[in-house]
Symmetry: C2
Subunit: 354 residues, 2 copies
């Protein structure tokens, strides 16, 4: 069997025993039951994923995957393709938003070249796994071959499982790729059945004409290729991107190892829909970080039946929202693990009202 097939087969149901134990412990902690709201639910979910009543997170990491997109030449982005390369160098130098936020929350940043067109210099912090030098222009031909689509996903699986073997115990996803909101909108439209106009936003900031062009490009590509929504690899091959496929692989690979995955914004959301198309049982392993400004994001939450943790009006990608959510995951687990119980603290837990 392929790495993809064995990985999908390894994603099992959550651990209901650990879930029940964590939920019971929440109710013994010195607070009114449920008073910490989503933090309590988050810790219980992580307990169920990891199979531990009191999960402890020691080494979070964000996997930031970068690649270029042939469709960028259609004028669908406010920035030129060379910005993909420049931003990867910025990640490696530690000057980008994701570096600052990851330092703030104590997460490692794993930068992966999934197919940056210009090529990148050797760098000790760069994981070089390019599938090709950027995708093809989806308005003319499929973005990639089916074999490349599988390679992208399997690269993500391999990268995350190497990181987990090295001790990473909470994964976040991040992306960089000029043109990748176009690919993501196409993926979300194909997999959710919503029209391109409803799931296409301004990305890094195109104007009205750019937005109209972007929607037309997606409609054109979907009409040309007719990707099969029951076949995740088909959708990825026809209208996807190497980093998006790689991120779907990161999610699958982490879930197969019972490691929770925090999903960033819209591009990561498109990757989550691909992962879900390939393995629907992945749903409870995914933690939606935040609601992006990008308008297609809601279709992702609807499809995954998930609700993001916060909405700070972010639209940057890179994993910027996901690392902030990792901090909430860690906080939630620390609450479950470190708070005193009513018994330990000698606090009355009996209603006063007659």
């Amino acid at each position: 069997m392929s790495l993809l097939a064995t990985t999908i087969a390894a994603i099992g149901p959550l651990d209901t025993t650990a879930r029940a134990a964590a939920a019971a412990r929440q109710d013994r902690l010195t607070k009114p039951q449920g008073a910490l709201g989503r933090l309590e639910q988050l810790a219980i979910q992580i307990a169920a994923i990891t199979g531990r009543e009191r999960p402890q997170i020691r080494r979070p990491a964000v996997v930031v995957m970068a690649a270029d997109h042939g469709v960028a030449q259609r004028g669908v982005s406010a920035y030129p393709s060379e910005v993909t390369t420049q931003m990867v160098l910025n990640f490696l130098a530690g000057g980008a938003a994701i570096n600052v936020l990851a330092r703030h929350v104590g997460a490692e940043v794993l930068v992966v070249d999934m197919g940056v067109a210009a090529g990148l210099p050797e760098h000790p912090a760069l994981i070089r796994r390019p599938v090709a030098s950027g995708t093809a222009d989806m308005t003319i031909e499929p973005a990639m071959s089916r074999a490349q689509a599988q390679q992208a996903v399997e690269t993500g699986i391999a990268v995350v499982q190497e990181a987990i073997a090295a001790g990473i115990d909470l994964v976040a996803t991040g992306d960089m790729g000029i043109g990748n909101t176009t690919a993501s909108s196409a993926i979300v439209a194909a997999l959710s059945g919503v029209t391109p106009a409803e799931v296409t936003g301004r990305g890094t900031g195109v104007d009205d004409a750019g937005l109209a062009r972007k929607i037309a490009v997606i409609e054109q590509a979907l009409a040309l290729h007719r990707p099969d929504p029951r076949d995740g690899l088909d959708v990825l091959a026809k209208v996807g991107g190497f980093e998006i496929g790689g991120l779907a692989g990161v999610m699958l690979g982490a879930a197969a190892r019972r490691v929770p995955v925090v999903i960033d914004g819209f591009i990561s959301g498109a990757a989550a829909l691909l992962a879900y198309a390939l393995a629907p049982q992945i749903q409870p392993y995914l933690i939606a970080a935040h609601r992006s400004v990008e308008r297609g994001h809601q279709a992702v939450f609807t499809r995954l039946d998930s609700e993001p943790l916060f909405d700070l009006g972010l639209r940057l990608g890179e994993g910027s929202g996901a690392v902030l959510a990792q901090s909430l995951c860690i906080a939630a687990c620390r609450i479950l693990d470190e708070m005193a119980t009513f018994g330990e603290a000698g606090v009355s837990n009996r209603p006063a009202v007659e």
Copy 2:
């Protein structure tokens, strides 16, 4: 002049020069303009409060004020009054939610006895400034005298200004006091003109009968005392609490020193309305952390024309949401201070679209 009067007089307008410099710097950082949404606005607000283009936060603290409430004997809470004392001891032992979350975000916890009825043992981490042994039952007499109300507020000013003198540069507010959602709902109703039924929720978790009793108690107290909404001390004296007045003082004292204040949930929100009644110019110094489950919280945001940073379904108090928001404040300031500019990183900042 009194400490209260000099403090109010010292709260000036924000620094527009620092604000403009911070906003200009945001637009030079390697991200699409505005792509970090509220994090960008938050850093700009903190720049304007502190008067520094690139504010750095090194020592955050949460001031948790505790006191008892005479009205608790009216059956308005799911827990008995002795829980106030027990939870303060839990804070001092490090076992409560606020301790865990403060450790997680690197904030110090300052526990202040503003009037716990049972009295508390000496403890090196306890700041003992009780105004009295709990308030009087507001359904029979004013909760406190006007002199006690002023003392409560001035105690808050003194406590926070001592902390700031010792190096604290970001303040959060937290509370503990069985019965204090009743006092807070009464304050919010009095100051916002909304009916008690609209601003009264279940607190730690009263049932329907308890909620009806709580609303009736507040209506009775407001009808008996008719607090003057133009006079913050009058409202505090008639239907408030020592910890709520103290937290209003914390806000005033911090703003007078140009230190940002992160407001926790509903009780802190009631304190913010008191501070705003005493000194309307405090509004831009306040950062609303989160939207609480407690239904009266929206009236606070409406009155202050503010929007909380997140909604995690919290209803615990203690400053639990505020310290999580402090982490966002620190992240926002680090973004502004540490990210590379387009020039520094050699990233193209010109639109690609023709």
